[in-house]
């Protein structure tokens, strides 16, 4: 299972990549592997303001629907429309295919996210 350096991780298996005032958000390799074939990604609405922990998107595998939570607070500034037609892109490369880009407004939001090492420990425990 790949865990990338340079990313922040949530306990719900989302990853966050900070680029200036933008936060790219996706789901981890561990998450896509546990879900299996992804058949639907609910594309978030651009401009939607979310508090940390609110539902950002829903990813559906053959088995079930899983909520994806906003790992930080902010506004959806960009979406990944390619996932509407090709949700399986997340299975193919989970770290290249973000679900949304949110505005990154508060550095404190990162404090309870996990480092790659901490996230690795979390996945080993599950």
């Amino acid at each position: 299972m790949e865990i990338r350096e340079g990313l922040y991780y949530s306990k719900d298996h989302e990853w966050v990549r900070i680029e200036g005032d933008r936060a790219y958000i996706g789901i981890t390799d561990y998450a896509q592997d546990s879900l299996g074939s992804i058949v639907y990604v609910e594309i978030p609405k651009e401009g939607k303001a979310l508090s940390k922990g609110e539902v950002l998107s829903v990813v559906e595998s053959v088995k079930a629907a899983s909520d994806i939570f906003a790992p930080i607070s902010g506004t959806v500034v960009e979406i990944n429309q390619a996932l509407a037609d090709n949700p399986e892109l997340i299975n193919e490369s989970p770290y290249e295919n973000y679900i949304a880009i949110m505005s990154f407004e508060n550095a404190d939001d990162l404090s309870d996210l996990l480092s790659p090492t901490q996230y690795e420990e979390l996945t080993k425990g599950e």
């Binding site: 299996g36 074939s37 058949v39 639907y40 559906e60 053959v62 088995k63 079930a64 629907a65």
Partner: protein
Amino acid sequence: MEKRTPLYSSQKALGARFTSFGGWELPVSYTDIIAEHQLVRTRAGLFDVSHMGEILITGKDAVKFINKIITNDVAPVPANKILYSPMCYENGTVVDDILIYKISDEELLLVVNAGNTEKDEQWIRSQLSGDVIMENLSDKYVQVALQGPESEEIIKRILDEETELPGFYHFKEVSMLGMKVLLSRTGYTGEDGFEIYLWLPNSSSDPEKLWNGILEAGKDKGVLPAGLGARDTLRLEAALPLYGHELSESISPLEAGLKTFVKFNKDDYIGKAVLSKQHENGLGRKLYGFEMIDRGIPRNGYDVVKDGNKIGYVTSGGLLPTLNKNGGLALLDDTNLANGDIIEIVIRERKCKAVIVPKPFYKKKYKV
């Protein structure tokens, strides 16, 4: 704690992911649900279905008694043939849907759904009458299902002696891989295939030898193990009902479209009065097939809306892999809908368009 089948370790070693189903911890998939689904449609897949329950009914009045508790008619069924039937309450709703293996007129094996085994046992016990003995043998059987077009060839390879294979919905006792088994031409996938019952108290019975022997014999045919995930998408494409979804304690078999398996000219049986009335007066609900037009995955329990009014709910839904479409089955109050009619499925408060289509979604490929 959840029950595990005797094949749990073998499955774990094969990399299975497990899930909870009917009180059991069972493999949901080994690699990928869609790949396992396609494997069964094109070659063959091997399922562990040991969770299914087996209840033996013996005695002089066995046939008479079973006919009292089922809606179908087991009396005219010859020995070595299998009958599918709903088993109903007095109010016409369903206790369970079961297979009845007629070994003889005085010995019949009922194969019941895993999650219903205890309930069925209690229900049947409460109805016992005449010269009849009931035994719950569920823990003494291992059951595996080999499903897909290559199944016949693979079974032939592992038979200890050449013998004619049972036809669709027939069974016979055979010897394979050095073990006596009950070989049944049944399944839950819409493909040709077999279900194999291994009686554990036999000294020769070795579940892992059976499991591995089938995989080994079918290796060059591409056979692989398949899990519950694929079993569900396969049965959904074939529009085979799943208890708790299309059938339940609040749905009648007629509403679920199973009229073929409900006899009105048979002697009195439990549920007959209500079912006959439904048959004569017409039904209040009907089970339909639908395909999504808008994006979205329909799931069990989602509301169905037409012209702004709720008209029912989705009983089963999801990806239909062979069609590469999303769709499912819905139980609707409007019994006059036609193919091509538009309905809406409420997915997370969003109304998504769908169209009524004929069932099944996939034409069954049984060898009759």
